[in-house]
């Protein structure tokens, strides 16, 4: 690991003094919370910050789990395990609790914060190994080793000819599906953005998010109601536990008698960023949710998939995962 200076930020103001491109690949200042991504990538020599600013002291004020009439508010410094184990989150927002419970290991879930989780970096093997020179995410303009290389776990949705890295997270997929918002604090003031606007689309792979320099995520807000109650997160992995998704689906359903009033669909293990399939949602509305209807929606959801050889299997797996998730959510007691 390369040398760096370590500092504990006692409050958000100090953090905002580090007004640099925090979180981006070439940033000379990185914020440290749970450390499960940052320390890992510093050991691999992928991230080379000159300053590491420890912001865990914010956690005392930004780790509450609050459930009110309007929905759920999760402090960004809450740990994954605290939220995954919370009885009211499990009951009223099952997709949120399941997406966290099915991620990583108990040790990592005790360490990792929600804010860091949504900003975790891709597991693309070429990004994580600097001995491969070509990686547009790590070194802008250097090319992409994965497009012609081993790309079994790379993304098929939202990719371009510069980068096919997959967004590895689960919680972010549940958040985009349930139309969460993100609360931010920084030198420009406090602001709120929709979660879907946090991650950038493909184009400039080394720029992953839309945070301002020095800005910190302080909370997530998830609307409550029937869509959140009848929601679930289905994760398909190469092994049963402690593994990233090769396909996943977050769904939320609201029925009016026997027909779908509203539907929410998100896909993980498939896409460049947390992915919502709104066209597929629309195809379900106003009809009974049969397996045939779910299959039609899944066809729409994976319509734009672009594969590169080793990941040719992904669109089929994604469709089947989504169909199963929709059927399971239909049959839930919610």
């Amino acid at each position: 690991m390369r040398p760096f200076a370590y500092e504990r930020a006692q409050d958000a103001m100090l953090a905002t003094r580090y007004a640099t491109a925090q979180g981006q690949t070439d940033a000379e200042v990185q914020f440290l919370a749970g450390g499960t991504t940052l320390i890992d990538l510093m050991k691999l020599d992928v991230l080379r910050p000159q300053w590491v600013v420890d912001i865990t002291s914010f956690g005392e004020r930004h780790s509450q789990i609050e459930i009110g009439a309007g929905g759920l508010r999760l402090g960004a410094f809450a740990t994954m395990s605290a939220v995954a184990d919370h009885p009211e989150v499990k009951a009223g927002y099952p997709a949120i609790a399941q997406s966290l419970m099915l991620a990583a290991s108990p040790q990592l879930r005790n360490m990792a914060t929600l804010g860091g989780n949504v900003l975790q970096r891709t597991r693309c093997p070429y990004y994580r190994d600097p001995s491969w020179q070509a990686c547009n995410k790590r070194t802008p303009g250097s090319g992409c080793s994965a497009i012609e290389g081993y790309n079994r776990q790379n993304a098929v949705l939202g990719v371009d000819d510069k980068c096919i890295a997959q967004y590895p997270g689960d919680f972010g997929v549940a958040l985009v599906t349930l139309e969460a918002e993100v609360e931010l604090a920084g030198s420009g003031g406090a602001r709120r953005i929709p979660f879907h606007a946090l991650h950038r689309p493909a184009g400039q792979p080394h720029l992953e998010h839309t945070l301002q320099p020095g800005e910190v995520i302080t909370a997530f807000r998830i609307p409550g109601g029937p869509l959140a109650r009848r929601s679930l997160y289905l994760k398909i992995r190469d092994r049963q536990s402690y593994e990233f998704a090769i396909a996943s689906a977050a769904v939320g359903l609201d029925f009016d008698g026997g027909v779908v009033r509203q539907a929410r669909i998100g896909l993980g293990g498939m896409a460049y960023r947390p992915w919502r399939a709104q066209d597929a949602e629309g195809a379900l509305v106003g009809k009974p949710l049969t397996e045939e209807a779910a299959t039609q929606a899944a066809d729409i959801a994976l319509r734009g998939a672009i594969t590169h050889g080793h990941n040719d299997y992904k669109p089929d797996l994604g469709r089947r995962t989504l169909v199963r998730a929709l059927m399971q959510a239909r049959d839930m007691e919610a």
Binding site: D11, T16, L32, G35, K43, Q50, D54
Partner: protein, 206 residues
């Protein structure tokens, strides 16, 4: 070690910028408190070798270490506590599992400098003051929960936490909540049996 140069944004903080930022952030409670100290310089950063104070197994320990030192290397190389093992050193195997403030965590992905002020428990701190083994340690012996033993300290620390969390009910729950600890010898069935035995003796919530 060379001292990293300060980013220009740090060496020339604009007072106007800071105060303006504080006013703009008035809605965020975290920042309101900060406004009073906006004009004060930040505390000095730690670089190179620094003296650190760690609370390990109930004792305050001091050591001078490079700021890059992981908690795992601090325990093993500086505090002579070699029970915690280095397997992958990148958060994938669980051999380095310790308890930080009572919760299981990976020492290899924790910076020692950031662990100051926390209560750290390692496998060496599990047995009683009289040397009596913790029920989980005894259960691993009783059930032969290992072959080579390299993963065992991490397995035991994780297993103790698994029971204390209330996640040691049915076998499949134990398996799920022990999935962060890999055993190359595949002693998994005996590890599950050991946890079942210790669970009863620990007065489990599960």
């Amino acid at each position: 070690m060379a001292t990293p140069p300060l980013p220009s944004t740090l060496t020339e903080p604009s007072r106007r910028h800071l105060i303006g930022g504080a006013a703009g952030l008035a809605a965020a409670p975290a920042v309101v408190r900060a406004a009073a100290s906006a004009a004060q310089p930040p505390p000095p950063a730690s670089r190179g070798s620094v003296e650190m104070a760690l609370n390990v197994n109930g004792r305050d320990r001091r050591a001078t270490m490079d700021v890059r030192t992981s908690l795992l290397d601090a325990l093993r190389e500086h505090l002579d506590l070699t029970g915690s093992k280095k397997g992958c050193d990148q958060g994938q195997c669980g051999a380095c599992t310790v308890h930080v403030d009572g919760k299981r965590a990976l020492a290899c992905l924790t910076l020692a400098v950031a662990a100051q002020g926390r209560k750290i428990t390692t496998i060496e701190g599990l047995a009683g003051a009289d040397g009596a083994l913790h029920p989980m340690q005894q259960a691993f012996i009783d059930h032969d929960g290992f072959q080579c033993g390299y993963c065992t300290p991490g397995q035991i620390m994780s297993a103790v936490a698994c029971v204390e969390e209330g996640h040691a009910g049915a076998d499949d729950e134990i398996q799920e909540y022990m999935s962060g600890n890999l055993c190359r010898c595949a002693a998994y069935p005996k590890i599950v049996a050991a946890i079942r035995q210790a669970r009863a003796q620990m007065g489990a919530k599960a």
